[in-house]
Symmetry: C2
Subunit: 393 residues, 2 copies
């Protein structure tokens, strides 16, 4: 079956998470992604969880599936020469070095453009390629903090908290993919290459939605509010017998359904709860407590079934095992299997974007270090030994 990005050659200089997550998407949908690692490997080959049998990193294998793996010492003259040999006819280059490093190595856009004027050169970073902080190192927690996410997350009476997973790395990686694909469409029409620049801080800032207009139009600084919605009630996460469930009662009709479902029709006569605006104003503490108390007598599964029948938006807070095993996640092929030559059977996340005619899929496991050196650089076994001894590959 044809894949959407079939025929595209991608040179992948990325490491860790932000860049590799972008090139993983390109590879999942058919691009020929050639990962270039330093001679001692991408740093994340050592990141946990490590498979005990083979010593392979589960993290590395997840995010580098479907890619070809090569090694190059870009600081050596020969290594840089070999890089320029393979970048000549590439469609796309992706990198996520700290600001300034590509220039020092001689693999920056200006240099690469000289040998490949139509290349799409994509840079992912914490602070972007320009701006007063572009020289500074960044981690996910810094981007979430400066981008405004941390301030808005957590309960009123506790400290602010970051979204648990590294959402800045991920979201910036998805935006970088958007940028590459936009540039690609433009190149189809004009023949023109260009630089794509995405920063983690900008990416987080773009997720703040009406928190921004609440300040510029509404004139107030929004504060964190736990799981309580900023304008709708009841719209919250409630503790139940064996965990927590989310309930979204977005309008009057749903509130009526909720009241009869939990056996509290008297609420419909209560002047405090006549409209959504009133419900929101009078939600805490009585209405919140009443729903909490009802939930405590049921399990997640029971509440989910009851609310499904009533047509009320609802879902359990799932832990990782529960999410992985959930029939809907399974039916959506969000967990996929892959066979690794040394680590054996592997299971990790599938492809989010479902394309009816050119679907993404996982075809090959993450490469062993330098596995595709011979194929990519066109080398004999003798030449590989020599270049390896010289520290070039």
């Amino acid at each position: 079956m044809r894949k959407a990005l079939q025929g595209l050659k991608v040179i992948d200089l990325t490491s860790a998470l932000n860049g590799p997550f972008c090139t993983m998407m390109l590879a999942d949908y058919g691009a020929d992604v050639i990962k270039i690692e330093p001679v001692n490997g991408d740093q994340c080959r050592k990141w946990g969880p490590i498979d005990k049998k083979s010593g392979e990193s589960g993290f590395y294998c997840y995010v580098n599936r479907n890619k070809k793996g090569t090694t190059l010492n870009l600081k050596s003259e020969k290594g840089l020469q070999m890089f320029y040999e393979i970048v000549k006819d590439a469609d796309i280059l992706v990198e996520n070095y700290k600001g300034g490093v590509t220039k020092k190595l001689g693999v920056d856009y200006e240099s690469v453009k000289k040998v490949n004027p139509t290349i799409i050169y994509a840079s992912g970073s914490g602070f972007g390629q320009y701006g007063p902080m572009s020289h500074r190192p960044c981690y996910d927690v810094v981007a979430q903090s400066m981008g405004g996410m941390v301030y808005l997350t957590g309960f009123k009476d506790t400290n602010p908290v970051k979204a648990g997973p590294s959402i800045a790395d991920h979201v910036a990686g998805i935006y970088l993919t958007v940028g590459i694909l936009m540039a690609l469409y433009n190149r189809e029409k004009t023949g023109q290459g260009q630089l794509v620049d995405v920063s983690m801080v900008d990416s987080i800032f773009s997720l703040l939605e009406n928190a921004i207009v609440n300040y510029t139009v509404g004139g107030f600084i929004p504060e964190r509010n736990g799981n309580v919605d900023q304008s709708i009630a009841p719209f919250d996460i409630y503790e139940c017998k064996d965990g927590f469930v989310a309930l979204g009662v977005g309008n009057d009709r749903l509130f009526e359904k909720l009241c009869s479902t939990i056996g509290h029709e008297e609420l419909l006569e209560d002047p405090r709860y006549k409209t959504n605006v009133l419900r929101f104003e009078n939600y805490i503490p009585d209405l919140q407590n009443l729903i909490h108390d009802w939930c405590k007598d049921y399990t997640k599964k029971e509440i989910d079934n009851i609310m499904d029948k009533a047509g009320i938006p609802c879902g359990p807070v799932l832990n990782i095992k529960e999410a992985i095993e959930h029939p809907h996640i399974q039916a959506r092929e969000m967990m996929v299997h892959c066979k690794h030559p040394t680590a054996g059977d592997q299971y990790f996340q599938g492809c989010v974007v479902k394309l009816s005619e050119t679907p993404g899929s996982v075809e090959t496991p993450a490469p062993l270090l330098g596995q595709h050196n011979a194929e990519v650089f066109g080398l004999t076994e003798e030449e590989i030994k020599k270049l390896s001894a010289e520290g070039v590959i």
Copy 2:
């Protein structure tokens, strides 16, 4: 200046946030986005913050900038006929109705494909177009809960909490853009249209990163851990004189710098802190408390300056006003200005993806209800009056 998606015609049936965030990106980069609203308008025209002078919604105006606005009653025969007139030569259709609604309205992919076989038909939804829960309504909080984000967010000793902003809506909107652009590239090569299907639950699940492999490879269920990293220390958010700062001390070299920067060189001799693994194991309570105590004597700005000089990754937790006004956010043009005909000056988020040759920008304000009916449908003033009286537009 040319824009990347110039020349593309997009029919936009979306409402609320998930779909409109996708078509906003398409419009920012030059696509001709024709938004079709029900005759009484997209529900989010009533969502706060509302501009007092004009009654316009700041939320609606942010997420619908650069689009043309039309109205159509798709339940009327004439309305449906007018829809099919303009969809005939469209490149892309985007919708985010609840599962099953497009079919009931007669605007589903199978029906549209009959008059426009090469269209790219993009569907954003809570649970996707297939799977056991695809019929169910969904809100952001439900997707964050079921996708695994909520379970991993918050402090150990408090309830789990969602990421404050609606990240499920946003991230699914960005993925939908990825899907459209991949399908577009494929169509350039093959002439083939297709269906793009993105769900909010899948989108959140894809952000969990090694939480998944920690279970499938590492064999344990990851738990929420506040702002403390899962494997690195010190890597946390600390309270200071006037708020909070994030510090990421990712390796031994940075730890040495930190110790001398905060005047605690004795830590370098402490056997508990010799390596990152040891620092992580022994981080709580002593090392965490010691850094907390140091931070309490300084402001966010002071700590940021001190850490910048020392080369230690650091950033303040910014509230919305601080983030908007931050020189880096400003330099990256992440806040843009727009003049609305009735609401006047508007300020909201700019374009994340920086393209060197075909940058995105905000050119026109969000449409008034039905503002482009005459232009899009080729109607005279008389015809508009008539169709309006008939409840068609």
